[in-house]
Amino acid sequence: MMKKEILVIGAGPAGLMAAIHAAETGAQVLLVERAEGLGGQLIKQTHKFFGSKAEYAGDRGIDIAAKLIDWSKKLSNIMIWTKATVLGIYPDGVVTISHEGKFTLVKPEKIIVATGAAEKTMAFPNNDLPGIYGAGAAQTLMNVHSVLPGKRMLMVGAGNIGVIVAYQLMQAGVKVVGVVEAAPQIGGYRVHAAKLQRNGVPIYTSHSIKAAHGTEVLEGVTICKLDEKWQPIEGSERYIAIDGLCLSVGLTPLTELLWQAGCKMEFINELGGYVPLRDANMMTTNSNIFIAGDVAGVEEASAAMIEGKLAGLYVAAMLGHQKDWFLQDFQLAKQQLSALRSGPASAKVCVGLSKAILEEVV
């Protein structure tokens, strides 16, 4: 059984930052990632990120991924396992991992769970026809694997992922016929929506998908208008011929390992579903298990990166790797996070966090 000071589960923006900042203090880190490569969802984010310089604002997600991956590989005290799926966290602290097909045991002193989130789906007739994708899946197909997901497509959901992926579909050469949004207003940032609108992509608010049609593959959908109670308005149905449909109807944290480890969980709608309760330093109700990124509550990658940094620094300090710059670095990261969250765009997340954070540590 391998012993390690810190195990980081997931090598997306949060996990990479956690591993890097823990390792920068001298801690011994094992970073495990289920996919073949590092970077998580960053490797398909071809758009430029918001935020400030500290969160690499203005850089594209793919370029941020390259920087963080490069940084993590330069630190010799980070051991990296890809194609490694964590199977369970046991009461004695032993973690079981399937690594390149082999069953492996690891005994870390502290664990940082940064497993991210999964896309939600929605129910409508024929929603299993080939040609219907999660928006993230379509984004992976085109931006990672260079496969065009369709020629004529419709997006469901005008949140940030919906409007961003719709724009990227256009960049890939797909004719995007529109974005359908059940809410009466666009949820994503106005500037992202404006990029679609000025290029002729209509956004249908108070609309939803009624059914998909096709014999073997998707051939079209029926959309309809919704009333103020979000109920379909009879007679408002309209058929749109498409060969691809993307669903961008929210994300939910990937919390299975935390449930299994016995962390106290709470359903918090504003954070995307069940999330672990935690203190202000990202520690769950199990003092050996920390969290960072979307698993702690669905938010943007910029926030995930800072949470990762906080968790990494804090856990390393707990294990005795407290450098003289710890307090300054840690406080600065906390300030960056609260600055990011201080605007109206983060109001919902802040409501959710107020329910998930057990105590405020000053």
């Binding site: 758009h47 430029k48 990120f49 918001f50 935020g51 400030s52 310089k53 604002a57 203005g58 850089d59 594209r60 256009m170 960049q171 940032y189 106005r190 500037v191 992202h192 404006a194 990029k195 609108q197 000025r198 290029n199 002729g200 992509v201 209509p202 910029s302 600055a339 990011l340 969250r341 201080s342 605007g343 109206p344 765009a345 983060s346």
Partner: protein
């Protein structure tokens, strides 16, 4: 916040227009400006432009993650104005090519001549469009005409 440049400022030459009207946590434009003409005091504030300092260089345009900054020049020619738009599609238009000029809703409102294509290392390229002066506050996108024929 000064959302649009004043008539007085427009009459003096090229100037940036910030179509960033929602408070989001973002400030790379302020970092990008070589003349310190852009202020984002708190990260969630909308940018504020010092019109006197801005010379319409467009450095902020390619940095803006929201592609929400444009440069307009009402003094370009006697009857023609200039609009610089951020552009992230392929193929790029060619200089001297005529393109459909689109408004904020994607409706074609006329023709524009591409006078310059600035290729940016960060892949947000800048297209300079010459068009009738009265359209500089209206046109915000283009559609290549050849593409239309290919459907």
């Amino acid at each position: 916040m000064n959302a649009l440049p004043s008539e007085e400022r427009l009459a003096k030459g090229p100037v940036a227009v910030f179509e960033c009207l929602q408070q989001i946590p973002c400030n790379p434009c302020a970092e990008a400006c070589p003349r310190k003409a852009i202020t984002v005091e708190h990260m969630n504030d909308c940018p504020s432009l010092n019109e006197a300092l801005c010379n319409g260089c467009g450095v902020c345009m390619s940095k803006c993650p929201g592609l929400s900054i444009f440069v307009v020049d009402a003094t370009y020619e006697q009857n023609k104005g200039l609009v610089k738009i951020p552009y992230e599609f392929f193929p790029l238009p060619k200089e001297n090519q005529m393109v459909d000029a689109l408004n904020r809703s994607g409706e074609c409102v006329g023709l524009a001549e591409v006078v310059r294509v600035q290729v940016s290392p960060n892949k947000t390229n800048i297209i300079w469009l010459a068009l009738p002066k009265q359209m500089i506050m209206e046109v915000r996108a283009i559609r290549l005409r050849e593409e239309e024929h290919h459907g």
